[in-house]
């Protein structure tokens, strides 16, 4: 990937996402959710998308709004069902959306494998459970493992705290969650940030996502989500 491009709007940031794309969407619940990019994706119009994200939308914003707009064919996630996942719940019950449930750690590790050039890996999670069905099992040193394959994205849409113009990223607290992993696993990584600074302004020891993983950067206005647990 050549050097990251800083674009002027979220619309420019999501340009070119084709129908049928696999899009990795950052966030754990609302923390780290790239709201502006998702809103732009809704305006952009790409449909028949496969979305990989930890959840399947909360309330009526972000991922939930994308689902409500009818753009998503399939969701790979660990935890679709939440108190405020009514949009997904309705689509799923109506048979209008496919769901693949992946244990949360496997979701992260399978994207990490995609980014790291690992062909597959043996993982102990879910051995002996219904989610082991159809997976190859192997015993290594007396412990059982399942063979897990990489999850690669055409695009990753993530949110970070500060980017430099080269594409180095730092995050804030637990909003870091899936962002750094997704950035490595997509052909094109698009990030929305609170602030863009010049190279040299971020501590090279504290960079979490190195510039090589970032393709497009857009600075957005202060986040407009609320604290869920505080409702």
């Amino acid at each position: 990937m050549s050097r990251a491009e800083t674009v002027a709007s979220a619309d420019a940031a999501v340009a070119g996402i084709a129908d049928g794309s696999t899009v990795l969407v950052g966030g754990f619940g609302l923390a780290g959710m790239p709201f502006d990019l998702i809103d732009a994706l809704i305006r952009q119009g790409a449909k028949d998308l496969t979305i990989v994200s930890n959840n399947a939308g909360n309330g009526d914003v972000g991922l939930a709004a994308l689902l409500a707009a009818g753009r998503v064919r399939k969701v790979l996630c660990s935890f679709p069902r939440q108190a405020d996942s009514w949009v997904f719940d309705g689509l799923y019950r109506a048979g209008e959306i496919e769901l693949e449930v992946v244990p949360q750690g496997n979701l992260a590790e399978r994207m990490r494998a995609a980014g790291a050039g690992i062909g597959a890996f043996y993982c102990p999670t879910a051995v002996g459970t219904p989610l082991a069905e159809g997976k190859e099992e192997r015993e290594i040193d007396g412990r059982k493992y399942l063979l897990e394959y990489p999850i690669k994205g055409d695009y990753a849409l993530i949110s970070a705290h500060v980017a430099d113009t080269m594409g180095n990223l730092v995050y804030r607290k637990t909003a870091r969650n899936f962002g750094p992993v997704m950035a490595t696993a997509a052909t094109t990584t698009v990030v929305q940030v609170d602030e863009v600074v010049e190279p040299g302004m971020l501590d090279p020891e504290a960079v979490v996502t190195p510039s090589i993983y970032v393709d497009r950067i857009v600075q957005v206005k202060a986040r407009h989500y609320t604290v869920q647990g505080a409702r």
Binding site: F28, G29, S78, G105, N106, V127, T174, N177, P180, V227
Partner: protein, 230 residues
């Protein structure tokens, strides 16, 4: 009646002795059993109460699988920060010596066996340590596993905190789980309102009871328990 398994001496006993425990009392019992300085993940729901009963000088370090070590108590007022939540998406705080990491690193930490204790809720636990806590398997349900299967294998010791019986009186500590499994043979101890049990390849062993005799357990759980200390 309070009993403990042989060789186990409790100098503190912050529990009721002659009736079943409330979930809050049970949380205190579990907090008592967590070793000082341990790295611990408390599952969402009831297990989060355990944090409130850890002594201030316990040195216990809490892990939350959404990417943090040394998580502090629930955030209130000005401390509310949408970028800082626990795995249940409840706003929390950070303690001095905290560290943040991404999801792959966080679950590598669990899967790699680095946590000392993980405490989870459950629908059912089998005598051999099988765990069912992610889905009731109802055909109209929406499957959602979250980190349950990762947590089930994600610590040196996996404890379960649950009521011993369902609301309709069915035992949740069972010879074999009827609900879909979360993990196989992964639970080592079960804390319930009526007693504490070690489970595993050698079957169930009663550690403590709260207001119930061993005979009553045998009758109500439908099995004869192996136990020490009575």
């Amino acid at each position: 009646m309070t009993t403990t398994s042989s060789g186990q001496a409790y100098t503190e006993a912050p529990r009721s002795a002659d009736h079943r425990l409330t979930m809050d009392e049970l949380a205190a019992v579990i907090a008592r059993d967590i070793p000082a300085g341990a790295f611990v993940n408390l599952g969402i729901g009831q297990p989060t109460k355990i944090a409130d009963h850890l002594p201030a000088d316990s040195g216990v370090v809490l892990h939350t699988e959404n990417g943090m070590l040394n998580m502090g108590p629930r955030a209130e007022g000005d401390a509310l920060d949408p970028d800082l939540t626990n795995a249940g998406k409840v706003p929390v705080t950070e303690l001095p010596g905290a560290a943040y990491f991404h999801h792959a690193d966080s679950f590598a930490m669990m899967r790699g066996g680095h946590l000392d204790v993980c405490v989870l809720g459950a629908y059912q636990v089998a005598f051999d340590g099988d765990l069912a806590n992610w889905t009731t398997g109802r055909p109209d349900g929406i499957p959602a596993v979250g980190g349950a299967m990762d947590l089930a294998i994600g610590a040196k010791d996996v404890y379960v905190m649950m009521t011993l019986f369902t609301r309709s009186g069915e035992p949740k500590l069972v010879p074999r789980c009827t609900y879909p499994l979360t993990g196989v043979g992964c639970v080592s101890r079960v804390y319930t309102d009526y007693g504490v049990f070690d489970v595993g390849p050698d079957g169930v062993r009663i550690r403590e009871t709260y207001g119930v005799s061993a005979d009553e357990f045998a009758e109500r759980l439908g099995i004869t328990l192996t136990y020490n200390g009575f």
